[in-house]
C-alpha cells in the first residue's frame, strides 16, 4: 500500500472531476467518522496492487502493519490502473459518485434491466435527464426510484438528446451494479 504519486493523483482527480465537478473538493476534504478515534479524520487515497482506494486516515494507519501480499481491500475502491497506466473508475465507486454527482440520468423501468446487462442507454429508455450535460461528461445513471444503477459517459449533450431518434445512444455504459453478479471475479 502506498500513496499515489503526482501523475497518478492527477489521473484520478481528472476522472472524478468528470463526474462530480466541483464537488471533488467535498470528496477530498470530507471529514470521516470511521476509525475508533472520536475526532473525525480525513480521507486519503492509497494504491494497493494497482487498485486505488479511498480510505480514511485512521484506517490507513492501522493497515500499515498488514503485509502487502496479505492486504486485499481498504475502505472504498475507486478504480484500477491498467497495465498501460490508464485509470478507470470501477463500479465500487458508485456510492461515492452518486452522492456527489452533477450529471444524472434516470431510466425508465423497462430499460433498467438492459442497462444492468451492460448495454448502453438509449434515448427511448431515458425518463429524466439533468440539464447542461455536455458531450463526454461523466453521467451517473439512476432508476426512477433514485437507486443508483451505474455510470457512463454522455454521448451527446442534453440539447442534442432531445433531437435524437429514440434508438440513439445517450449514455455510453462504463460500469453498472449488475457487474457484482456478472463479473464478480473481475472486480
Amino acid at each position: 500500500m502506498r500513496p499515489l504519486d503526482e501523475q497518478e493523483t492527477t489521473q484520478v482527480f481528472e476522472k472524478l472531476h468528470k463526474f462530480v465537478g466541483n464537488n471533488l473538493k467535498n470528496i477530498v476534504e470530507n471529514p470521516s467518522h470511521e476509525g475508533p478515534d472520536n475526532s473525525p479524520g480525513r480521507y486519503c487515497f492509497r494504491l494497493q496492487k494497482n487498485r486505488v482506494y479511498y480510505v480514511s486516515e485512521s484506517l490507513v494507519k492501522r493497515a500499515t502493519n498488514i503485509k502487502r501480499d496479505n492486504l486485499v481491500s481498504l475502505g472504498t475502491q475507486l478504480g484500477k490502473f491498467t497495465k498501460g497506466g490508464k485509470f478507470h473508475l470501477t463500479v465500487q465507486s458508485l456510492g461515492l459518485l452518486a452522492e456527489n454527482a452533477k450529471h444524472k440520468v434516470w431510466l425508465k423501468p423497462t430499460s433498467e434491466m438492459s442497462f444492468l446487462y451492460g448495454n448502453n442507454v438509449l434515448k427511448g429508455g431515458v425518463g429524466r435527464i439533468t440539464e447542461s450535460i455536455s458531450e463526454h461528461d461523466g453521467v451517473v445513471v439512476y432508476s426512477m426510484s433514485d437507486v443508483p444503477l451505474g455510470f457512463g459517459v454522455a454521448a451527446k449533450s442534453t440539447q442534442d438528446c432531445r433531437k435524437m431518434d429514440p434508438n440513439g445512444i445517450v449514455v455510453l455504459h462504463q460500469a453498472d451494479i449488475g457487474e457484482y453478479l456478472r463479473m464478480e471475479d473481475d472486480l
Binding site: 470511521e34 484506517l59 502493519n65 492486504l71 486485499v72 481491500s73 444492468l116 472486480l187
Partner: protein
Amino acid sequence: MAGPKLSGKKLGKTPTKKKQKKEALPPKQVEKEELFSDSEGTDEDFQEKNDDKEVNSDSDMSSDVDDDPFAADILAADDDDDGSDARSDSDVDSDSDGDDTDLVKKSKAIDDEREREEKEGDEELQLNIKEEADDFRLPTAEELEEETHRPPDLSNLQRRIKEIVRVLSNLKSLRQEGATRKDYIDQLKRDLGSYYGYNEFLIDALVELFPPVELIELIEAFEKPRPISLRTNTLKTRRRDLAGVLLNRGVNLDPLSKWSKVGLVVYDSQVPVGATPEYMAGHYMLQSASSFLPVMALAPQENERVIDMAAAPGGKTTYVAALMKNSGIIYANEMKESRLKSLAANLHRMGVTNTIVCNYDGRQLPKVLGQNTADRILLDAPCSGTGVISKDESVKTSKTAPDIQNCSQLQKELILAAIDMVDANSKSGGYIVYSTCSIMVDENEAVIDYALKKRDVKLVPCGLDFGRPGFIRFRQHRFHTSLDKTRRFYPHVHNMDGFFVAKLKKMSNSKSAKSSVQSEEIQGVESIESSDQQNTEGADDKHSEQEGIADENGKLKEEVAVDKKRKRDVQKHSVKKGVGQNSSVTKTGKSENQLVATKKREKKKPPPREEIAKAREEKRQALREATRKAMMKKK
C-alpha cells in the same frame, strides 16, 4: 328301490348329456352337483329330488341340473375341491342308502363344509391380527445377511425404524425376549444409516446426542431445506421500504421473527431473489437466519475496533458494519484466497467503508494486528458443518472422527488467538463471540471449556433466549457449569440450521486462567485444602480436629458462604505465593488484586482487613467449640 336299475339306465343315457352339461355349467354348480350326485330314481324323480334339494339347500344353483350318480365320476376328475371329491365318492358309495338318510347326510355335509370354511376364515383373520399386533421382532443375523444381498427395501426399513422407536419408548413392556436396548439401538443405527444415507460415525454421534424420537425428527428436518431468508442493509434502506419494493416485484415475504428487526423470510418469488436490482444495489443480503445470531450476540457499538476472523463471504461482517453505522474499524480476515473476492465484492456492494480486508491464517493474526488491541471479536469458526446437512448432503458421508478432531484442534487454536487479541480493559467491550454451524459437542462445548481453562475469560449470556442451553455434561465430559449460557439451535426445533453460539468476556489481559474457575468447580477439595492451611496457621493438627474443622467449614460455608470462600481463596493464594495474608488485601500487586477481583464476580471490592480478621476470629471460635464438643463426646 328302483335305484340300481335306474342308475343302470341312466348310465346309458346321461353320460353324454352330462358331458355336455359339464362344459356348460360353471364350476360352482359343478361342485354343487357332486353333492347331489348320489340321487337315484327316474328322471322325474330326479328332477323332483333336485328341486327338493334346491329348496332344502341354500345354494344358488340353477334348476336345470340333471342329478346323476355318475356325474360325480365324470366331474370329479376336473374339480378343484378334493374334499367334495371325497364326499361325492362316499356319497356315490352309499348310493344304496335311503333317500332320507342321504338327504340328511348331504345337508350335514353342506353344513359341515360351511362351518369349516367359516372356521378357517376366522383362524386366518386371527392369524393376521396376531401377526400385526405381535411384538416387533428384531431381524436375525441370517435375515440381515439376506437383506444385504438384496436391493434395500425402503418401506421395510421405514417400518422397522418406526417400530424400533416405538419399542424403545417403552422398552420394558414391548421388548423382545433376550434383546437388549443395545441391540435395538444398533439395528436402528444400521437402518437409519442405510435409509437416509449417513455414514456410521455420524449416526453414532447423532444417536449419542438425541433420544430416539427427537433423532428421527432431526433427521427428517435435515432432509428438507430451510426457508430462504434475507437481511435488510440498514446502511442503505429500511426493512419496511425494502419489503414494499420486493412485494411489488412479486416476492412473497414476511418479517423473519420477532427477535430480528432486519430479517425477512421469502416463501416464494416470481423473480430470482438474488438478482433483483435492489440486491445489486446492496439493499439486502441473502443470509440464513442462523447467521444473524452471532452478530446479534456480539452487539458491536459505534466507534469500536472489531475483528472478524473468518469473514468470507461477508454476511456477518456487513451486518456488523451496519450495526456500527460505518464507524469504528473492522478487520475482516479470511484465510482462503478463493473466497476473498466474494468477501470484497460483498463489502463494496453493501456500501461498507470502515473495513480492512486481509488474508491471513487466523492463528497468526495476533502477531499481525497486535495483542490486546480489539474491542470485540467475532469468530465464526470453520467446522465440520454437521448442522447444515440440509444445505450440503455430502457431509452425511464424508465426515469421520479424524475430521472432527482436526476441526476441533483448529478451533481451539483460533479461539486462543481471538482471546489474545481482545483488550480486556476496553471501555465498551472485551467480548468474543464464538459460533459454529455444527452440532457436535467436540467442536462446541469442548472448545469453550478449553478456552475457559486456558485463559482468563468467562461466559456471559448471549442475549438469545430462544435457543437451547448448551451441554454441561455429555457422556464422559464434565464441562464448566457456566456453559449453560451458550446456546444451541436445531432445525427441528427452531427451523434454522444447526448452530452454536457462545459469548465470552475477557476478564484480564494475563495469559493464565483465573483460579476461581477451579475453585467454583471443586469446592470439596477446597475445603480440605483450606483446613490444611488453617492447621498450618497454628491450629491443632489432630485428625479428629481436622475433620471437625472440615465439618465446621461445611456448616460455616452455609452461614457465611461467600465471605468464607473469599477468605479461603485469599488464604490459599497467600500460602501458595509464600506471602503474608496482609498483602492479599493491600493493593500492591495489581495482578493479585485482579485475581482477587476477578474471583468475586458478584462482589466489587476485595474484603477489607477488618472483615478478614473477624472471619478469622469466628473460625477460631468454631475450632474451640469443636474441640470442646469432641472432648465432651469422649467423656
